[in-house]
């Protein structure tokens, strides 16, 4: 760390962080998430499997949802409920949501069966769960915006449940303007924030090894430097 040629100074660079919250935060962040962990160039060999693809599949679908959603909200229902292009974009938005949920559920199953919460990854699992729940509420408000018989039926079934838990006054599904704001502002921001935290946590902890990797994976059996001389000796 210390490159000075003369006698070492009393307070090396790192120590300054002790006195200010900016310095403390920087030191904490650099320790938790150094740049080489945030943007790694390669991954262990076991990551070369479809089991690790579905999280990014969900992210990709989410990008399409947000992109099409922005165009829909900028043009408004008088456009997307009437014009051909509007209908197309509305449908693209819906189908991106279908893919988003399919990828998310397959991702959830895969992470469940590989017990991906191992090794201090509890928060990754919890943020994933919260992402799932918030996404369901977001999709629910989206269905309410169809303004057809379906959405009317959904709203009036849901209002009883929401009133029963006591949130009906603040989250009023019969109030279309309010539901619109939840759907295009508050809930997308919440989904985005939770997903961002989820992915950053995956980066910070590194990808979880498969359950049986410790016996079969060269990189886990021989951590860097201790690999056997002969490649053929590796399992």
């Amino acid at each position: 760390m210390n490159r000075h040629t003369g006698p070492a100074p009393e307070t090396p660079d790192l120590e300054t962080g002790l006195y200010t919250w900016t310095g403390k935060s920087r030191r904490w962040l650099l320790k938790q998430l150094p740049p080489e962990k945030l943007l790694p160039e390669d991954q262990p060999s076991y990551v070369a499997s479809w089991a690790y693809v579905f999280g990014m599949g969900a992210v990709a679908a989410l990008i399409f949802i947000i992109g099409s959603g922005v165009v829909l909200s900028l043009n408004g229902p008088q456009w997307y409920h009437v014009s051909g292009l509007g209908h197309f974009l509305n449908s693209a938005h819906l189908w991106s949501v279908e893919l988003f949920f399919m990828f998310m559920v397959v991702h959830l199953w895969l992470k469940f069966w590989m017990a991906a919460w191992r090794g201090g990854r509890v928060l990754t699992w919890i943020t994933g769960m919260v992402a799932f729940l918030v996404s369901i509420v977001t999709a629910f408000t989206g269905y309410l915006l169809q303004t057809n018989f379906d959405s009317q039926w959904i709203a009036f079934e849901a209002k009883d449940a929401l009133n029963a838990v006591g949130v009906g006054a603040w989250f009023n599904v019969a109030n279309l303007g309010q539901v619109f704001m939840w759907h295009i502002m508050l809930l997308p921001l919440a989904v985005g924030a939770v997903v961002a935290l989820h992915v950053v946590l995956v980066r910070a902890h590194g990808v979880v090894p498969p359950l049986d990797a410790a016996e079969t994976d060269a990189q886990l059996k021989y951590p860097s430097g201790s690999a056997p001389e002969n490649e053929a000796d590796q399992p």
């Binding site: 060999s45 070369a48 499997s49 399919m102 559920v105 397959v106």
Partner: protein, 55 residues
Amino acid sequence: MHELLRQAGRAITPGTYFGWGEVTIQSGNLVIIIAMLALFVLALLLPFPGGRSRK
């Protein structure tokens, strides 16, 4: 008016349902669940392209 009623009639068709005793499921939901199960199995079985090219 007639056009509106015709469209309304189309919008409230309940869809196709499958049922086995107590269990009832709408065709669209069933298709999605089967597709997800298929993706899950394929993700475990299919080899990952280019997976072995790096050491």
